[in-house]
């Protein structure tokens, strides 16, 4: 049976709040568990969240979360919900997940690759990103 699982999924991470990064990590880990190659491009505030020694820090939540949302998110974390960085680390051991920093965002934020968490595999331009995405879906978060 054709399942479409041979198609690559590409995630563009722009937002650097913990809720959006968690949503992205969930998609990436699920894709990897299903055997899909997953490509992730980090831009701007998402890239900032991948700085070395900072993935476990509190990056806040999107404004729409509000106080109730924050309480729910914190309860889930206390109940043992894995963080987005731990979810991505587990997913990378499992399947084909390639995480690249957007070279333009690197320039704007004045980062070197050595400033980034080892989760990040390299620095990439947009042309390389589109070539790797092929005809698979691209999701912007």
């Amino acid at each position: 049976m054709k399942t479409g699982m041979d198609e690559t999924i590409s995630l563009v991470l722009f937002s650097g709040t913990d809720d959006k990064l968690m949503a992205a990590a969930t998609l990436a880990a699920g894709g990897a568990a299903m055997g899909k190659p997953v490509h992730i491009l980090l831009q701007y505030w998402a890239l900032d969240a991948f700085r070395k020694d900072s993935t476990g820090a509190d990056h806040g939540l999107a404004p729409e979360a509000g106080e109730k949302g924050r309480a729910a998110f914190e309860t889930a974390a206390r109940a043992g919900q894995a963080s987005w960085s731990d979810t991505l680390r587990a997913a990378k051991e499992l399947g084909e997940i390639d995480i690249q920093a957007c070279s333009q965002s690197m320039k704007v934020l004045k980062f070197e690759q050595s400033d980034l968490d080892p989760l990040v595999d390299g620095v990439q331009g947009i042309a390389a990103f589109f070539i790797n995405a092929g005809s698979g879906q691209i999701v912007f978060i």
Binding site: T26, G30, G80, A90
Partner: protein, 78 residues
């Protein structure tokens, strides 16, 4: 299918999506073709997730049992 055939059990109780299938996929990597694996989960979403995971990976979902807030899945490794 006897209980004694189970090569490994993944305890995914208390874990929420996507960790049950991530842990299962991890465990499946260490098994050989034909091995039987049991997964215990409490996330209600796991029912549809394991059907989908089985279809996507070709590991056969031999049986599933629900009760007492737990879901048990028996999977035969491709």
């Amino acid at each position: 299918m006897g209980k004694s055939d189970i090569k490994t059990t993944v305890d995914a109780r208390g874990l929420s999506c996507p960790l049950p299938i991530v842990k299962t996929a991890q465990a499946a990597k260490g098994l050989a073709s034909g091995d039987l694996m049991e997964v215990i989960a409490t996330d209600p979403g796991s029912v549809k997730d394991f059907e989908a995971w089985s279809r996507a990976t070709g590991n056969e979902l031999v049986e599933q049992v629900a009760g007492d807030g737990e879901f048990r899945f028996f999977l035969r490794i491709k």
